[in-house]
């Protein structure tokens, strides 16, 4: 069995925790996360004939940057940059965090999630912005933690990129 660390990065309230919650069956009580600022969950993913045990690190906090320390991202094999489709300011925050992560974990694979696709009619993020990300070489997936759209796909895709 292979183990991999994955981090959730993104501005406040973009849906990081909801995405993780969708994907795993959490067993840890919320008690730890408030004190140490990070919640960790795990989930097994089977890719073909390989089993991968994912350890998902999700920051708990209300501010966008303060708590994202390099130690949090260090050693990660992959990370998600989560952007809230309905709030254009989360786009820039996401890109800044991407830079930070790239520095702390240069080998790690990245997938950008534009979340809240159930509210696609209220999106402020434009096609142009998404096209820009893709042309910059990013893998971009539109998700909805609320309606469980493409959540599994997103995690599987990142896992696949990591074990290649």
């Amino acid at each position: 069995m292979i183990k991999k660390k994955i981090c959730m990065l993104g501005a406040f309230a973009v849906g990081k925790t909801s995405l993780v919650q969708r994907f795993v069956n959490s067993i840890f009580s919320g008690k730890y996360q408030t004190t140490i600022g990070v919640k960790i969950d795990q989930k097994m993913v089977s890719l073909g004939e390989t089993d991968v045990n994912l350890l998902l690190w999700d920051i708990h906090g209300e501010d966008d940057f303060q708590k994202v320390k390099a130690t949090y991202v260090m050693g990660a094999s992959g990370y998600f940059i989560v952007i809230d489709g309905t709030r254009s300011e989360t786009y820039q925050v996401g890109l800044e965090l991407e830079k930070l992560a790239k520095n702390a974990a240069p080998q790690a694979k990245c997938v950008i999630l534009i979340n809240k696709s159930d509210l696609i009619r209220d999106w402020e993020i434009t096609h142009g912005q998404i096209a820009k990300l893709i042309s910059d070489g990013f893998k971009v997936i539109q998700t909805s933690a609320k309606d469980n759209l493409a959540v599994e796909t997103a995690f599987t895709e990142l896992t696949r990129m990591m074990i290649k």
């Binding site: 840890f28 969950d41 795990q42 890719l47 004939e49 350890l55 050693g75 696949r160």
Partner: protein, 583 residues
């Protein structure tokens, strides 16, 4: 004439023998000498060995001739070391760690050993009436003997030891005194510990070199011993002797020496650390060690043993019961599930109650709480739940609204918003009031679209869409429908039958392609083979359900090639219209 031509002319006009002689005359080296030299230069390893034999000699000569001042050289070396330590002490520490630590430790080992010995004698009470009293207490209170023992101080134990990779926080290996049911929790605990360690170090702004060496969590302590690449964390209870620190240090050093390659190149594969474990186990110390060597009073030992076994038995029973209750609570709290009773017979729990098939597979809840499906049986009768979420989910499944429609529920009114065609609206209004829990259907916010297609065509197109939305995921090497998949399967077959009966025109007939999804990850040929078998077995199921064989086409597809990938090991469908001549 080009340069090249010139050269080749030159070569051809001198024979090889002449050339060798010429070379020897000029350099004084024969071909054997030359070969040796060129081997040396090409192989850096050989070269460095050769030089290393010469270098000390020439340095010695330099000293003898007074060309180098010993004082000067020492100053230079000191300066370089100093610079290196100043710019990043970690680098030096990493290099020196495996070499220096054993030496330093040996120096203090004697002192510690003396201290530990005196501690041991004062700790060791052997068999005493007091201890037997505790064992009785353990029996009647249902607590573990060790717990009672610990609450009466004196002794300690190390109940679990983790080896954690430093940068990733991933668990490399772990050992514990008794077998733990769900070892996967250890992975979480490991990451947690590493996060806690970072947190403590960050929040107290300690010197990066000054490392955290213990954490207190509730009743127990976690002792941490850090090496450059990995950390040992030991869960300890009771009054722990200082000698444990030494043992942990020894273990982490031994691990760094023995796994230096694996640690430096760690990519998530923990197998080497688990397979060759000897060092962690040495850290699992406990009270037994001190009892050893006492005069055995056989009867007392037997009694103690028996009582120990009894209390352990009680403990496991209590633990299982608690776990079972937690699982029951979770089941009962799940929307669409109602537990009405439980029973235990021949060691098997059975849970009776009702559940709405829409909530999905409940066996997972059982497994998640560490129970085997043979030990816990779910005898749940299907029911229709009127819980808000389930009513809405059911409405979505049955009405199959187009993407442009949003459904929501307000008390007993289902509200549709958005654009839809008249066909859907008619179907929905006729179906909706059959849905339990819904009494009114609010369509005032629906914009009707006009569509020219005939209703029959439209319906078939809808059915095709529905068919193409189904997928079934299977376990490795198995094509078996569970009870929920069976329901889906029956609906699928019905939809398929009506689609296969309909032709859009004279030139084409419908066929159903049965896609088996697999991945290129791992062994491609094996994956492909497994996928092909899966597709064929699924086609068999469809044949049995009455679909004509000539309309079913099994196919294998790699998720890497798909636009929106289906899960690996799933089967999905596509309806295609082909020219009958091509069949």
């Amino acid at each position: 004439m080009t340069e090249k031509d010139h050269k080749s002319n030159l070569y051809s006009s001198i024979s090889l023998g002449q050339l060798t002689e010429l070379r020897k005359a000029i350099t004084g080296l024969d071909s054997e000498d030359l070969q040796r030299l060129s081997r040396l230069i090409q192989d850096p390893e050989l070269f460095s060995i050769e030089i290393s034999q010469l270098l000390p000699l020439s340095i010695k000569k330099m000293f003898e001739r007074g060309e180098v001042d010993e004082e000067q050289l020492r100053k230079f070396v000191e300066q370089v070391l100093h610079q290196s330590v100043k710019s990043d002490p970690g680098v030096m520490a990493t290099i020196l760690f495996p070499i220096m630590m054993p030496a330093i430790r040996k120096a203090v080992a004697e002192d510690i050993k003396r201290m530990v010995e005196s501690l041991n004698t004062s700790l060791d009470h052997g068999f005493s009436p007091k201890r037997i009293g505790w064992r009785m207490q353990a029996l009647f209170s249902g607590r573990k003997y060790a717990e009672i023992l610990l609450s009466n101080a004196y002794v300690f134990k190390v109940s679990q030891v983790f080896l954690i990779h430093r940068t990733t926080g991933l668990l490399l290996n772990q050992v514990q005194e008794t077998e733990i049911k769900d070892a996967r929790d250890a992975d979480l605990v490991s990451s947690m510990l590493s996060a806690i360690k970072d947190f403590v170090q960050d929040s107290f702004q300690r010197d990066a070199e000054e490392n955290l060496d213990s954490i207190k969590v509730g009743n127990f302590n976690i002792w941490i011993e850090q090496g450059p690449y990995a950390i040992i964390a030991a869960i300890v209870e009771g009054n722990v002797p200082g000698s444990l620190r030494l043992i942990l240090k020894e273990a982490i050093e031994a691990i760094h020496v023995n796994f230096s390659y694996e640690l430096e190149h760690f990519q998530g594969d923990t197998e080497p650390f688990v397979l060759k474990d000897r060092f962690l186990r040495a850290c699992l110390l406990n009270e037994k060690k001190e009892v050893k060597g006492k005069k055995p009073v056989i009867i007392l030992i037997l009694v103690a043993l028996l009582l120990g076994v009894l209390s352990f038995w009680t403990y496991t029973r209590v633990e299982t019961k608690l776990r079972f209750n937690r699982m029951l609570d979770e089941l009962d709290a799940t929307k669409g599930v109602a537990v009405t009773g439980t029973e235990k017979k021949d060691g098997v729990y059975s849970i009776t109650g009702l559940y709405d098939p829409l909530v999905g597979n409940l066996n997972n809840v059982v497994k998640l709480h560490g129970f085997d499906l043979h030990d816990v049986k779910l005898n749940l009768e299907p029911m229709i739940s009127l819980d808000y979420d389930l009513v809405l989910l059911r409405a979505r499944r049955v009405l199959m609204p187009p993407e442009t429609i949003d459904l929501s529920l307000k008390r007993d009114t289902l509200i549709a918003e958005g654009d839809a065609d008249n066909e859907w609206l008619k179907r929905a209004t006729s179906l909706v009031l059959h849905l339990p829990g819904i009494y009114f259907f609010d369509i005032t916010k629906v914009n009707e679209e006009k569509i020219q297609q005939t209703p029959a065509r439209q319906l078939v197109k809808k059915r095709i869409l529905a068919i193409e939305n189904y997928y079934f995921v299977f376990k490795i090497n198995e094509v078996k429908l569970d009870s929920l998949q069976k329901i889906d399967f029956d609906i699928l077959i019905n939809e398929a039958k009506s689609v296969l009966n309909f032709r859009f025109d004279q030139d084409s007939v419908p066929v159903i392609e049965v896609f088996s999804h697999t991945s290129r990850t791992g062994h491609i040929d094996a994956n492909k083979n497994a996928a092909r078998l899966r597709a064929e077995k699924f086609v068999d199921l469809m044949l049995h359900a009455g679909l004509p064989i000539e309309t079913l086409v099994p196919k294998v597809i790699f998720v890497e090639d798909e636009k929106v990938p289906f899960p690996v090991r799933s089967v999905s469908f596509k309806v295609k219209y082909v020219n009958p001549a091509a069949l």
